[in-house]
């Protein structure tokens, strides 16, 4: 059973009105358990919309999404996935540990069990000493790690991430990418990852889904052929550069047909 199964998915905003937008047309995508898939494309190509359709934060206009064999809605109600955004979205009136406990609170877990899980998650993202800190006492990278810990708190099979490292500086960003991969190796979660950065997409992913705007659609799916475990050395690897070139070419195809901005070519 695939982690995510998307078939003939379409999304239209403001249907019937003058400012109707075909955000997504005819999307087919299947994501295997444990697979890491990035969505990349210029602004307006609908990659965040696609993520929100998987998360059931939006309802599709046509087609279907299943997560772990359930409807997207059922998967949301069962908290089958964890989610992280560009904004860490931490609740500033809660301590770090209390932030991680929030999804568990909503599931009705009892206090001691919640606390134990929160500490386990903090251990995972190497912030065990910061349980009683408030978010504003942490750096941007640390806040984002807490957000990831919170997304993983319910031990979801699927992690949905919308440019989670977009607001971080380059050094922190590369560090966080390695951290994320090592966390995923331990938890075995599948990941759908929206990004603007080609190297980030290639470094992290098994497959990179290249999208184009107006209407939003998948133009190419690039298989990244990096063998074995990815480390910092991977960034000097020939397969890594080959992947970057392949994604860039696919995006250039998009660019030829349209005026495109918003891709970080670094």
């Amino acid at each position: 059973m695939s982690a995510v199964e998307i078939s003939s998915l379409g999304k239209v905003f403001n249907a019937g009105s003058a400012n109707q937008v075909d955000a997504l047309v005819d999307i087919d995508l299947s994501i295997a358990p444990g697979e890491f898939v990035s969505l990349i494309g210029p602004s307006g190509c609908g990659k965040s919309t696609l993520l929100r359709l998987i998360a059931n934060l939006l309802e599709p206009t046509s087609g279907s999404v299943t997560v772990n064999g359930k409807s997207a809605k059922q998967a949301r109600l069962d908290q089958d996935y964890g989610m992280a955004f560009q904004q860490s979205g931490l609740f500033e009136w809660r301590t770090v540990a209390k932030n991680i406990e929030l999804p568990l609170e909503l599931k009705g877990w009892e206090k001691a069990k919640r606390r134990a899980r929160a500490l386990e998650m903090l251990e995972l993202v190497k912030l065990a000493d910061f349980a009683e800190h408030y978010p504003w006492q942490l750096s941007g990278g640390m806040q984002q790690r807490v957000a990831i810990a919170r997304a993983l708190a319910v031990h979801p099979q699927l992690l949905l991430m919308d440019e989670p490292f977009g607001a971080l500086d380059e050094m922190t960003r590369e560090h966080m990418q390695s951290e994320l991969l090592s966390i995923c190796r331990r938890t075995g979660s599948s990941v759908v990852f929206v990004t603007h950065s080609i190297p980030e997409a290639v470094y992290l992913s098994n497959r990179v889904v290249v999208m184009s705007p107006r209407p939003g659609r998948i133009t190419k799916i690039v298989d990244v052929g990096i063998e074995g475990e990815r480390t910092d050395a991977t960034r000097d690897n020939a397969a890594f550069f080959a992947g970057i070139t392949a994604v860039r070419e696919a995006l250039r195809g998009v660019e030829m047909s349209d005026h495109v901005r918003g891709i970080e070519d670094r």
């Binding site: 949301r76 989610m83 904004q87 979205g89 500033e92 009136w93 929030l102 609170e105 408030y134």
Partner: protein, 267 residues
């Protein structure tokens, strides 16, 4: 180190304040200003001590009116903002009316209210304070309940949270700093309203009416002594609301903005 920073924070304004009072005293004495024009601080202080019991009694009357109005107004304001944030259509219905009501120079209502209740009643004054506080609290708390970070709302939806959970765990905590901002504005405003509403007749027992009657009797220094009492009352209200804010917002309210909302949504 700590005592030095205290010294640096407290000393300059203290010196300035004492200097200002000394200058006042000197000007009054030096230019031989008449007491009906401006009384010297020493005389005001003397009258303050002499009339302390009377001033304290008047302070209690005005202070009680302000406090009751503040509490009732805050409670109603909070309740109404909760109702309005829950039912948007009602909000659309009520908000224009609320703005229109707020635009009335509402002090004139005291005269009307005095007419409705017994002339010796404190109720009209308390209603006035309640009204003023109510609008301040309503506007601010409603903002706090509705202007939550979109990321927070999406997260809560992804946790399959109900509207009630979102209210309890996101909207209400988000509104707490807004409530204290409102109270810091409303606390001194409640004292001012309590004074001013005394000018529209009724019992001559509060600070506001005492100031007016003493000026009418050319007892300038005594009037100033009552003004001093009024200052201290307003200050007390402000300090208490500030202290409450410190207690209620863990980690300091002002620091929050750094992780706060302002979602930048790239697609």
């Amino acid at each position: 180190m700590k005592s030095r920073s205290l010294l640096r924070n407290v000393l300059p304004p203290a010196v300035f304040g004492i200097g200002f009072i000394a200058l006042w005293e000197l000007v009054v004495k030096g230019f031989d200003l008449k007491p009906y024009f401006l009384a010297p601080p020493s005389k005001i202080w003397q009258k303050f001590i002499q009339n302390f019991d009377l001033i304290w009694g008047a302070t209690k009357v005005s202070g009680t009116n302000a406090l009751i109005g503040l509490l009732v107004g805050a409670v109603f304001g909070i309740l109404m903002s909760l109702v309005l944030s829950r039912y948007r259509t009602l909000s659309d219905l009520v908000t224009p009316l609320a703005i229109a009501l707020n635009a009335i120079p509402i002090f004139v209502l005291v005269a009307v209210l005095n007419n409705m209740f017994a002339i010796t009643s404190e109720v009209p004054r308390r209603i006035m304070v309640t009204l003023v506080v109510y609008f301040i609290v309503l506007v601010n708390v409603a903002k706090g309940l509705t202007q939550v970070s979109p990321t927070h709302v999406e997260l809560m939806k992804s946790y399959a949270a109900s509207e009630v959970s979102i209210l309890r765990k996101v909207r209400v905590p988000n509104a707490v700093p807004y409530l204290f901002t409102a109270l810091k504005i409303a606390a001194p405003a409640s004292v001012i309203t309590a004074f001013v509403s005394e000018y529209f007749g009724g019992s001559q027992n509060g600070l506001g009416s005492r100031i007016a009657s003493n000026i009418a009797n050319s007892k300038n220094a005594v009037a100033w002594a009552y003004v001093l009492g009024a200052c201290l009352l307003g200050l007390a209200f402000y300090v208490i609301s500030s202290l409450l804010e410190g207690v209620a917002t863990p980690g300091g309210g002002s620091k929050r903005a750094e992780t706060g909302p302002g979602a930048r949504r790239g697609n």
